[in-house]
């Protein structure tokens, strides 16, 4: 960031959160332009909140110049990532899911990060919801990266704005 004197520093809370993420995701945050419309929100990881996450993403995606299919894909992929956190991250304790959505600095793409601080369990042998949810993200996002560890699961999703 110091190489760009015009950069707008993210809010401290965003910076703290980013520093808790795996490095590939922290790097994505540092390369976004938070002076433009963005979302940074944290919700209880509960099924009834996923609709609210979709509503926020729908509003944001509608302001970006994405195609209709891309807007649909953004909402679908984020829903899958958030549902995954709801379903699997916190089997016994309440927890949260954090959503960050913003333009890249270059302005020609958007990135969304969905993270939780819960458990990772390997996909069951049955190719059920979890497997299908991951497959769906991979199918509809141009960038899809997922990492899980003791600190939780982080998903990075990305789309290019139409030229």
């Amino acid at each position: 960031m110091p190489d760009d004197p015009n950069s707008v520093l993210p809010a401290p809370a965003l910076r703290d959160w980013a520093s808790s993420l795996p490095s590939f995701a922290a790097e994505v945050v540092s390369q976004t332009d938070t002076s433009r419309p963005h979302i940074y929100t944290r919700m209880p990881a509960m099924a009834e909140h996923v609709g609210l996450i979709r509503a926020q993403l729908t509003g944001w995606a509608g302001r970006l110049g994405l195609t209709a299919v891309q807007r649909q894909d953004v909402v679908l992929a984020v829903d899958e990532a958030a549902s995954n956190a709801v379903e699997h991250a916190y089997p016994s304790t309440p927890g949260t899911v954090t959503i960050f959505a913003a333009h890249t600095r270059s302005g020609d793409a958007v990135r969304v990060i969905v993270s939780d601080e819960g458990l990772w369990r390997p996909p069951p042998a049955d190719p059920g919801f979890r497997g299908r949810g991951l497959a769906m993200m991979e199918l509809v996002a141009e960038v899809f990266r997922l990492m899980s560890g003791p600190g939780g699961t982080t998903v990075v999703l990305g789309w290019s704005l139409p030229a």
């Binding site: 099924a47 009834e48 996923v50 609709g51 609210l52 979709r54 509503a55 209709a68 299919v69 649909q72 894909d73 909402v75 679908l76 829903d79 899958e80 549902s83 709801v86 379903e87 059920g128 919801f129 299908r132 949810g133 497959a135 769906m136 199918l139 509809v140």
Partner: protein, 116 residues
């Protein structure tokens, strides 16, 4: 900030040869039990063909596909069939990207699902 809880509505319309399950709203992790109940109710009608009308579905994720694939498999085992008709843009998108149009019987309209 307002509440945005997912809402799913459904009605079952039994017919002589086929039963139609009309579904409207959002099929997601919160409403999955409602969608399952809708499909189970349609299957209980006993019709050989159960048509699920998804024309008014405004959101559907992989949880909806999971339910459709499950009832499709159950129906096949019982010598019956589940047909998907009236797809909204989001339903068409997820069936297209997953290639499940090859697995699920997909029809452009309820009329065609009833007569073919």
């Amino acid at each position: 900030m307002g509440k945005a809880e997912s809402v799913l509505g459904w009605t079952v319309e039994p017919g002589e040869h086929s039963t139609v399950v009309h579904v409207s709203g959002e099929i997601d992790i919160a409403t999955q039990p409602d969608f399952e109940e809708a499909m189970r109710t349609g299957m209980r009608s006993g019709a050989l063909v159960v048509i699920v009308d998804l024309d008014k579905v405004t959101f559907m994720s992989s949880v909806g596909l999971r339910v459709l694939l499950q009832v499709h498999a159950d129906a096949q085992q019982a010598g019956r069939s589940v047909r998907v008709a009236g797809m909204s843009p989001i339903v068409r998108r997820i069936i297209d990207v997953t290639g499940l149009g090859q697995v699920l019987a997909v029809y452009p309209s309820i009329e065609e699902a009833e007569t073919r």
